[in-house]
Amino acid sequence: MDFELNENEKMLQNMVREFAQKEIGPLVEKLDKEPYFPIDIIKRFGELGFIGIFVPEQYGGNDMGHLARIITIEEIAKVYAPLAFFFQADQLPLYAILSKGTEEQKTKYLPKLCSGEFIGAMAVTEPSGGSDPNAAQTRAEWDGNKWIINGRKAFITLAEVADVCVFTAKTDKGLTTFIVDRGTDGFNIGHRETHAGLKAIPVSEVTFNNCFIPKENLLGVEGKGLGATIATVGAIGRTVAAAIALGLSENVYEIAYKYAKERILYGKPIFELEPIKYELAQMRFIIESGRLLTYKMAWLQDKGKSPRELAEDIAIAKYVTSEGAIKVCSDAIHLLGAYGTTEEYHIINRLHDAYDLIPAGGTSDIMLLTMVN
């Protein structure tokens, strides 16, 4: 087993690291204080080729694969997790259309999503719940000519800024996926959510009110949407969340480590004190194990394993990294004593981000259920 990144992956890692430090780093202070959606950075994601990194070249991607995707997201999350969360939503419709789309749909949407010209979202979760996608109440009625959609979706990341949205609705045949373009009559963005974390990325409600969807916007096979949705959420939603949680933990660990080395108590850095070393060691352990699980998960994706085959690996990686991120953040807050939750160190923001990664792509309970089947 070769655990080394290859030459290309290392070059990619260095490039993303430099990008994140030079172009996102200077914005962190402002983004935490007064969060806003930085469209310029999103454009850079597209320009540099991050968004479509796993998409074949013929559709505007780079075909570098899923491990490359994970490394990219991890490096961005190391500097600022909320901006990495962009990929968690944007790459969902990308994957869905890539795996289930017709040639026309792929050529229409994929290149623009890859370049960042289009922003995408995926609307699955409903007010009644997201863990059971099949219990969707949004209906799609066929009137002989077109689909008429009625329903509500909740907690849809990026819907507010999306140019294209993949969504699920129930037809007579069962759960089905569709594509809706921004500005379509009857498709409206509802109120914005006010989560404590990941604030730079807008999350909102979406409503369908007699929304007309043309037949060419049916994605995949009618009634076969559940499998496609679970596959997409697994392959992208959960893997991205794992990579973000990993990068976030590394970010917070670095802050805690630096603090421990500089903070003097009893005449020497607190780093020399056993309990502090122990706390840092626990964080290290979470990060290293999380990294191995996350990279292995992506590596298996690149080996061609389907999301269904990888369901357990993905669930374990997401569970360990996301639950681990909460622990890393709260331990770091303890370590920093009175400075723990101050704005200056940003750890409290990262803790909020970590909590909001738990429901992303499926809660920890769902991960546990998936792991043991």
Partner: protein
């Protein structure tokens, strides 16, 4: 028409303050310190690429170093260089600037046809800034250091160059190719290669040349060809007092003023 860019791989300067010496060999421990392209050399690459875009030059990156230097040359290709050549071999190890300049100029002579040589003005590790001028001397081509601007005119194959020299802004015209220029790390903002650039670069091979390939005299290369030698290296320990006060209250002001008075007398 070729442009040659000289590239040096150095330890990442972020780690300079963490350098350690091997207690036995007294040499620098480089393990664990990432290696990067010298920042001014990146600006040289960026200038060459912009000339390539406007005037269809072919850009060849040249470096001398151990096998690991290939990573930096790959990066140079990802930034847009068409080819990259690594001069490598045990005969080149331990070279000072004279021996380095000799080897680089031999390689350039082998490339034979080129309009310009562009280099960074100084490498952050050695900080001598001598190599480019010496390469220019060995090649017997005019050299202009620390330029501010360069514009090439395809119509008559000339270049307009400006620089600030001794407080004077000089405007020059190069009327005969080839020539050599150096740029500082503030000359321009090197662009980040995209994922696509990285993938394309991975498919290109780095050419390696040994001492025979460049017809170099082994007595002028490496340690043998280096008139200067290092006899000892020590880590610089700064002895600053590092007394830090937090806050802008009137105590801070008093300490500030008292110290100025005290230190002025000494």
């Amino acid at each position: 028409m070729n442009i040659i860019v000289l590239v040096k791989q150095i330890p990442d300067s972020e780690y300079f303050s963490k350098l350690q010496l091997d207690p036995v060999k007294h040499s620098l421990i480089r393990e664990g310190i990432p290696a990067v392209i010298n920042p001014a050399d990146k600006c040289a690459i960026e200038l060459a690429i912009s000339l390539k875009k406007h005037h269809s030059f072919k850009v060849i990156a040249v470096s001398m170093g151990p096998e690991a230097t290939k990573n930096s040359l790959k990066e140079a290709i990802a930034m847009g260089c068409d080819e990259a050549i690594l001069i490598t071999g045990k005969e080149f190890a331990g070279a000072d600037t004279l021996a380095t300049s000799y080897a680089l100029s031999q390689a350039i002579i082998k490339i034979h046809s080129y309009s310009m040589v562009i280099a960074g003005n100084v490498a952050l590790d050695g900080s001598t800034g001598q190599t480019p001028i010496q390469v220019g001397e060995f090649l017997d081509i005019p050299s202009i250091t620390n330029i501010n601007s360069l514009s090439y005119h395809k119509v008559d194959n000339t270049a307009d160059i400006s620089r600030i020299f001794r407080g004077v802004e000089q405007h020059m015209k190069v009327v005969e190719m080839p020539f050599l220029v150096t740029v500082s790390q503030n000359f321009n903002k090197p662009h980040l290669p995209s994922v696509m650039d990285i993938i394309k670069a991975s498919k290109k091979d780095i050419v390696t040349w040994g001492i025979r390939d460049i017809n170099a005299d082994k007595n002028q290369c490496g340690i043998k060809g280096s008139p200067t030698e290092t006899i000892s290296t020590t880590i610089y320990k700064n002895e600053r007092e590092k007394v830090v006060i937090i806050g802008a209250d009137k105590d801070a002001v008093k300490i500030f003023v008292d110290n100025i008075k005290k230190w002025l007398i000494v």
